[in-house]
């Protein structure tokens, strides 16, 4: 393949935003390719397009990511543009205002989107007063407040060598790459100046929050605390989730909610680990008249799983899927690079990919039962629902049955 794919990240992310200026990391990520060095925004973008380079930055919860993709004959130009973006972004006020306008437009659009509203409501209730309780993009109020100085300060505090991870895949070898990376990142300070973020577990589990919206369907997100990535039970939790709601056409939630009852098009669960928290969450959207029924079934499945665990057959099938499908995560250069970046962010050994399936194979039914009891407990969930659900209980719930 005549291409080079690079994925990198600076640890920090939107969790480093000052609360009153939430959205700073997102603004910085959006501005890095809006002019750098001698090139103004248009000139920089023209250079990118003339060489068909793809350069993107994105602010995540715990890191600010970048990705670069180039055809091999445009390699030097691609890395030079990256060097400029990382080190010499101009952050001119006209560009800041334009990007601010775009971000505000997106916030306004999202503000009436049922899925976004449900997610925001859930996060706020789960993580009160914590950076994870805010949407990374910020609010209209906080984004209006962000100044050029705030953006520069964020960059200076977050862009450093010790919190940087890089993965490169494709038509380049390590000997060639080394000096190039030195050139791109070498001028950054050795250490970042990150604010400490405290660990937190989802609060208000057992509560239901309803946001009224005049639409025919209720969009629901739900979840409760789970595990951080370094927890020894993490892999059993992934297996558990696959059986419960992770398997697209095979999970218990799929079968009970969609296949048997036609209650929803989409119903799922996932496990998500952050640097300072962990969640088992999920979502469903169903017509207002049946929202209460759908949620009752989901809570029932959570509670039943905690009590009974999986069957041997479910466990065998889940392990087969999880081990067999692992290779599909690495079937393009970009996906390999992304996987290697994530492994580094998770502090896993670089040969983790080779040993990962053995970890899944080693999971026993007792492991899954243990982790289910530990994580799902009594099946209570923090629920956020947007729509006009009928017969939906608000406030304290009694948990599953």
């Amino acid at each position: 393949m005549p291409l080079i794919a690079m994925e990198f990240a600076f640890r920090g992310g939107t969790a480093q935003d000052a609360p009153e200026k939430a959205g700073t990391a997102t603004m910085l990520a959006s501005l890095l390719d809006e002019g750098a060095g001698d090139l103004d925004s248009q000139a920089f973008q023209e250079r990118i397009e003339a060489s068909a380079v793809e350069l993107n930055f994105r602010a995540g919860r715990d890191d600010l990511d970048g990705s670069l993709k180039t055809l091999v004959d445009k390699r030097d130009e691609a890395f030079e543009l990256l060097r400029l973006a990382v080190n010499e972004a101009r952050l001119e006020s006209a560009d800041v205002e334009r990007i601010r306008a775009q971000i505000l437009a997106r916030i306004r659009r999202d503000s009436t989107d049922p899925g976004d509203v449900a997610q925001e409501t859930w996060l706020k209730a789960a993580y009160p007063g914590h950076p994870y309780g805010r949407r990374g993009i910020g609010t209209e109020e906080t984004v209006e407040r962000i100044s050029r100085e705030d953006i520069v300060a964020f960059r200076d505090a977050n862009f450093a060598k010790s919190n940087l991870v890089v993965a490169v895949v494709g038509a380049i070898d390590a000997a060639t790459l080394g000096p190039i990376l030195d050139k791109v990142f070498g001028a950054l300070p050795a250490e970042p100046e990150l604010s400490p973020v405290v660990d937190i577990w989802p609060q208000n589990v057992g509560h239901t929050e309803v946001v009224e919206m005049d639409i025919p369907q209720t969009t629901i997100v739900f979840g409760r605390g789970a595990l951080k990535r370094d927890d020894p039970d993490y892999i059993p939790a992934v297996v558990m989730n696959h059986i419960l709601g992770g398997g697209t056409f095979t999970s218990r939630l799929f079968n009970e909610v969609r296949e048997k009852r036609g209650l929803a098009y989409s119903v799922y669960s996932y496990v998500d680990s952050m640097d300072h928290s962990g969640v088992i969450g999920g979502g469903v959207a169903t017509k207002n008249e049946r929202a209460a029924e759908a949620m009752q079934i989901i809570e029932g499945e959570f509670a039943r799983f905690a009590k009974e665990g999986p069957t041997e057959e479910e466990l065998v099938k889940a392990k087969k899927y999880l081990t067999g499908s692992y290779a599909l995560n690495f079937d393009s250069s970009v996906k390999v690079a992304r996987g290697l970046r994530q492994i580094q962010l998770n502090n896993l050994p670089i040969d983790y990919i080779l040993g990962r399936n053995a970890l899944v194979d080693a999971v026993t039914i007792e492991d899954v039962k243990r982790v289910a009891r530990r994580i799902l407990d009594n099946g209570d969930l923090l629920v956020a629902a947007v729509g006009k659900p009928q017969g939906f209980r608000e406030g304290r719930s009694s948990g599953g049955n």
Partner: protein
């Protein structure tokens, strides 16, 4: 910036699925084709980087082939194809794919319906056996049909009924196509989905799901001879059972009236305007007009250096976003779209005026070589980047072959893009960007409780 009017293909039983894209790989993989005795076409795209294959079956039938009054039937049948056969009851196929660590899904568009699995190469034959089986042996009972119809209605509620921008998009399409069935939503109108029956689905299935109306696309760690042998033992055993009618849909009359539609809803906090022009597709275009329109969409509105973005967002500062797109892969005529969303303090009328001015400036003043070259570089590079993804490669061939193009067209696409001149681009713009064959869609806010 995104716009509501994206995506011609409707993702199927699960999630994801952007519109199939035009064109194909530049360097071009070594693609081979042959036809089975029963008329099923086969495309093999070797990719030996990993021991996996992408197995797809494309049926040359989509929502535009439905009869009036049964909108949503093609998509409904796609869902029902997961309900099992005489020899493989519901869930067995999906469970098998899952145990193999594979991925699967399906999607329906105006012109095609496709099913795919991504699996380890050793299991290709198993996939073919299952897929060939459900080509003719589908079993449907009301016990599975009725809950699945509710699932589709929920899908519609998620995609459209809870989203004013999606509702506008439906109204724009219904208005643009005065006679052609592309005016009907792929997922169907709510009341017509609710009335679809098991018998409707089976009749559609009997009429269109036959090997002589299907294309097998296999991309991955295989060669032509392996695929020929496996396909012969599986699909080759399926008898033809119908001769689908020629795909001739009602054509548009000469359009003479510019139309406007609007959705005003309290939930709209970011207004936007789009102009949708009737445009030729790769199949219906004269000469190289479709290639020129693909380039026009990049020059005019394909990113931060495009005409529309530069004028409306950067220079005038009146818009938060602006752009254009063209969807050329359809069997019949297609559309070319320009759009913009205002910054606070600026009106939709200002945006619309500025969009018109930029289109006129391009038609009057032409296109310079620099911007055309950048656009070509971008489009051609995308096809090379696509080589990195086996699934998108398979998809490129499948969508081309079900919308009236052939493998040669896909392979030659970069060369023909390269050959387009500024003059051709302007000519295509002149022909296409005519108000009389357009609909302007307005998405705006309304006081709470109001819904006009």
């Amino acid at each position: 910036m995104t716009n509501a009017l994206v995506g011609a293909a409707l993702a199927g039983a699960a999630f994801g699925g952007a519109a199939a894209q035009n064109g194909g790989p530049a360097a071009g993989p070594k693609v081979e084709t042959f036809t089975l005795e029963n008329g099923m076409d086969v495309v093999v795209v070797p990719d030996h980087r990993a021991p996996v294959v992408t197995h797809m079956v494309w049926y040359k039938v989509g929502s535009a082939d439905e009869v009036r009054g049964k909108s949503g039937l093609a998509h409904f049948l796609e869902h029902l194809m997961f309900k099992g056969t005489k020899s493989h009851p519901a869930g067995e196929f999906s469970n098998t794919v899952s145990e193999l660590g594979g991925q699967e899904n399906a999607f329906t568009s105006y012109d095609y319906t496709a099913y795919f699995q991504r699996v380890p190469k050793e299991t290709l034959k198993t996939m073919m056996e299952f897929e060939a089986d459900r080509m003719t042996n589908l079993v449907l009972t009301d016990d599975v049909v009725l809950p699945e119809r509710d699932v589709v209605l929920e899908e519609r509620r998620s995609r459209t009924d809870s989203d004013p921008a999606a509702q506008l998009s439906e109204a724009v399409s219904a208005t643009l196509w005065m006679n052609h069935p592309y005016g009907l939503p792929i997922i169907g109108w709510d009341h017509e989905i609710a009335a679809l029956t098991r018998e409707d689905a089976l009749a559609f299935y009997e009429k269109y799901y036959t090997p002589n109306n299907a294309i097998l696309v296999v991309a991955g760690d295989v060669n032509k001879e392996e695929v020929r042998a496996l396909a012969g033992e599986t699909y080759g055993k399926v008898a033809r059972r119908a001769d689908p009618p020629p795909r001739v849909r009602p054509r548009e009359p000469l359009q003479v009236a510019a139309r406007r539609v609007a959705v005003a809803d309290a939930r709209v906090r970011q207004p936007s305007v789009s102009r949708v022009y009737l445009a030729p597709s790769y199949r219906t275009a004269q000469g190289d007009d479709a290639y020129a329109l693909d380039l026009l969409s990049v020059v005019l509105g394909g990113g931060p250096t495009s005409r529309l973005y530069r004028a409306l967002v950067v220079e005038k500062g009146i818009a938060a976003g602006a752009g254009s797109w063209y969807g050329g892969s359809s069997l019949d005529d297609s559309r070319f779209v320009v759009y913009g969303s205002p910054r606070p303090g600026h009106s939709l009328a200002e945006i619309e005026t500025a969009l018109d001015a930029e289109m006129q400036r391009l038609i009057d003043g032409g296109v310079n070589m620099d911007e055309l070259e950048r656009a070509k570089t971008r489009l051609i590079a995308d096809t090379i980047y696509d080589l990195d993804s086996q699934a998108s490669l398979a998809r490129t061939f499948g969508s081309a072959l079900t919308t009236g193009m052939d493998v040669r067209d896909v392979i030659d696409w970069p060369e023909r893009i390269r050959a387009i001149t500024p003059g051709q681009l302007v000519e295509a713009a002149k022909k296409t960007l005519q108000l009389r064959q357009s609909v302007t869609g307005i998405l705006e806010s309304a006081p709470a409780g109001d819904r006009t």
